[in-house]
Structure formats: C-alpha cells, structure tokens
Amino acid sequence: MEETVQTAELEDKVEPVAEAATTISVAGAQPSIAPDADSDQLKVTLGEFEGPLDLLLYLIRQEQVNIYDIPVARITDEYLRYLNLMQELDLTVAGDFLVMAAQLIELKSRMLLPRDPLAQEEEIEDPRSELVYRLLEHEKFKAAAQMLWSRATVEQAVFKRAEIETDTNNPEVAVGLFDLLRVFQQILARHKEEIMMEIEREEVTMAEMIDRLRNMVRSAGELNLMKFFERAQSRRELVVAFLSVLELVRLSEISLLQRETFGDIMATPVIPTPA
C-alpha cells in the first residue's frame, strides 16, 4: 500500500475502521483516519498518537508501570500488537513506528543479556535510560505545546487597531530567508509560464536544434547551457533548445554538470564506452 491514503479510497477505508472500533482495540485506544490539517494528505492517527513516542507513552500509562522501570518485554509486546492491529486494518504503518519497533526489540534482547560480572555496579548503564530520557523529553514538549495552544487562544481574543492612513504609505513586507527563495521560485515559474504561452510558427526544427547542440558540445568539449539558450531568437526557439538538451541527455549523448549550487550548468559530451 502507498504512503498516503488517496482521497478516493477514503470512504472504503473509513468504514471498516469505524466498525472495528467497537470490537478491536489495544489497551483501550482506537485508531482513526483524518485529513491532516497541514497538507492534503490523509493521516493515520492511532487514537491521539502523533508518533511512536506518543504511542509508547500511552501504553506505559495504560499499563500503569513506572516510566523509570519500564518492563520492556511487556511494553514491546503491546507495541507490536498495536502495529499488527494497524496492518490488520490495512492502514499504512508509518516508518517512524517501525523504527521504534526495531529499537524496542533490540532493547528487549539487550535486557535479556547477562550482565558483565566484572563490571562495577555504577558502571552498568541501564539500557533503557536513553529511551526513558527521550520519553520524558517528549512529554515535556507535549506540555509545552499545550501551553502554546492556550496562549494562542487568549491572543486570538485581542485585536489591534485597524489600518490607518499612515500604514498605507508604507506597503512593505517583512522578509525572511525562505521568502527570498520562494520569491525566486515564483519568478522562475512565472517565466516558464510566459514561455509556454507563446505559440508561433516553427522557425527551427527540433532536429536542427539537436544537431546544433550536438555540434556545439562536440567542438567546445564543454558548453555553458546558459550561452546555448541565449542564442535562441524567440521564446519558442528557447523551448526547442531546452527540449533538445533533454533529448540528448536522454540519448546519453551529453551529460550535465553543475559545479556549485546555482552555478552555471555545463554540458559535456558522453564518451561512448566500447562495448
């Protein structure tokens, strides 16, 4: 099954879950599917669980065990039962959950290993301590998220004054680094659209253009594609030039090379390897 549940499949998937909810559950929690608010993907949520740490925390609370003394074997079994349940329900188990499963199984086997009899008592580190630390950290951040949520709620009840005259002669936007990149991408997209929209009579055929490119690359040994594109007389010709580059790359006659990010792209002839 694919990573994302397609919208079309949603109806098929939701029903069995809703039915199953009354009968199948692990440790009292039931899974559900919901559209992710942040994207158009559908997200599989197991109860309230955002990820494997959430699920683990839940199981630990449910089993009423001490977080500093986790019975690894028992919790691992519960965890795996849960993943099985997901698969039974034909839900995609996110990779993060599987990684945690592997870590738990490893931890479980390490707990079974006899301790080094020569090691000093204080030198023996509990193999669970890293996991415990991660769980506690995770829970703290969950609490912090709750705090942010309540702050935002209060803040949404506070209003600033409406725009006044003095604001309008200052139509500016605050800028961050990613704004710069986004804006640049927008320009490129806009540019591309303009090129696509122009339909003219053919001046140079594709075959002619491919020949031209092939000759230029061969004679120069290395061709700056920017230079090649700059020769184009019209937008249409530019498109043909671009397509011919793609074509020669596809035919493995040339290869493209960019020595640095955002640097010029160079085309070089591919030396045919003797068969």
């Binding site: 994207s39 209003f159 600033k160 004054r161 409406a162 725009e163 006044i164 003095t166 200052n170 139509p171 500016e172 936007v173 605050a174 800028v175 961050g176 680094l177 990613f178 704004d179 710069l180 990149l181 986004r182 804006v183 640049f184 991408q185 927008q186 320009i187 490129l188 806009r190 540019h191 303009e194 990010t261 955002f262």
Partner: protein, 208 residues
C-alpha cells in the same frame, strides 16, 4: 466613578460571556459600562469611521443607548487629555491622534526601520542573490518586468553593490549582494542561502 458603579463594573466583568455560542445573544442585558467598552472596542478595530447605528446593530441595543455611551466616551477622552481623541467624521466615529504631536509622528514615520522591502524590491533582491553577479537586462529577462526603482532602493539600503561591467553589448553594470545583505539576513556567507533542496525537503515530505 462612584463605589457603587465600580462594583457594578466588577460584577459585569466577573460574569463570563456566553463563549459557547458564536452568535451574540440578544436576550442578555448589556449594562451601560459594558456598552461603552464594546463601543470603544468596535471604534478602535473598525477600518473606517463606524456609525452609532452600526454599533447598535452589532450589539443589538437601541441606537440611543449607543449614542449616550459614545457621548460619555468622548467626555472621557477629553477629560483625560491624552494623545488620542474620539471624533465624529463622515457620519461615523473614529479614534485618532490629536493634532498637537504631528511633528514627532512625522519624524517617527520617516525614521521607520528600513529592513522591510516592497515585493518588487524583494523579487529583484532574490534574483540578484541567486544569480549574482547579474546585470539589469538579465534581471529584466528573469523577472519579466523592469525593476529600476527596485535596484535603486536596494542600492540605497546597501543590500546590493555594483561590481564591474559585463563584457557584452552596452557593457551593463553587474550587481551582487553586499556584506550588509549577509548581516540583515543573518548569513555567514552566501553558501548559507537556502537551496532548492532545502525547500523541497520541506515541501516533498522526506528528510534525509
């Protein structure tokens, strides 16, 4: 304010508004003090002068009650004699500064932090940042629009500098980003600019 009135205010405030209901309940009595506060809040947030009638409609009370509340507010603003006034203009009410301090206000508006850029300037800056060194005709080619004033703004704000001429028709000036650009965007050097890959990592969903 009399102790009695003060107690009434406290009572009103202690009483929670019906937060579960999105619609403002018309049945609940709205006291004079509360009405005054709501009127002030609405005048403050409205983006144009707001009439007593509009306020009355929102709060679902008589227009007369609103007019009384506003009259009291005007009196309060005048008595307080602060920087703000409540004034009637174009058939509505508005909060504005008094004329006395226009000099300082203008001085402030002129001195406003200049780290901000118009969209045109931002676009031009983006092209220069990612394609430097680059000439005006090349920027025009990429952006699809002329950007002379944007380039002037960027030069004024010292975000870009002219650096040599391109050996091509007309020998146009080449532009690149300045040290000030690095400082303002918190970059150690240009290699710290986010790349298309950084962006795709976020957009595409897969990291590592």
């Amino acid at each position: 304010m009399s102790p009695k009135a003060e107690a009434a205010v406290e009572e009103l405030e202690a009483e929670p508004l019906d937060s579960s209901d999105a619609e403002v309940e018309s049945t609940r009595e709205i006291g004079a003090t509360e009405l005054k506060a709501i009127a002030e809040a609405l005048i403050f947030v409205a983006d144009e002068p707001i009439s007593a009638k509009t306020i009355a409609d929102v709060v679902k009370v008589d227009r007369e009650a609103v007019e009384t509340a506003i009259a009291e507010l005007v009196e309060e603003y005048n008595t307080r004699n602060g920087a703000l006034q409540l004034r009637e203009i174009a058939g509505g009410w508005q909060i504005a500064t008094r004329p006395e301090h226009h000099e300082q206000i203008r001085a402030y508006l002129r001195s406003r932090p200049s780290a901000k850029l118009s969209l045109a300037s931002l676009e031009t800056l983006a092209v220069i940042a990612y394609k430097q060194p680059v000439t005006v005709p090349e920027i025009l080619e990429i952006r699809g629009v002329q950007s002379p004033s944007a380039i002037k703004t960027l030069l004024d704000k010292r975000l870009i500098i002219a650096k040599g001429r391109k050996e091509t028709v007309g020998r146009p000036m080449m532009y690149r980003t300045s040290k000030e650009f690095l400082i303002q965007f918190g970059l150690k050097d240009l290699s710290e600019l986010p790349s298309m890959e950084d962006f795709q990592d976020l957009a595409g969903g897969e990291t590592q």
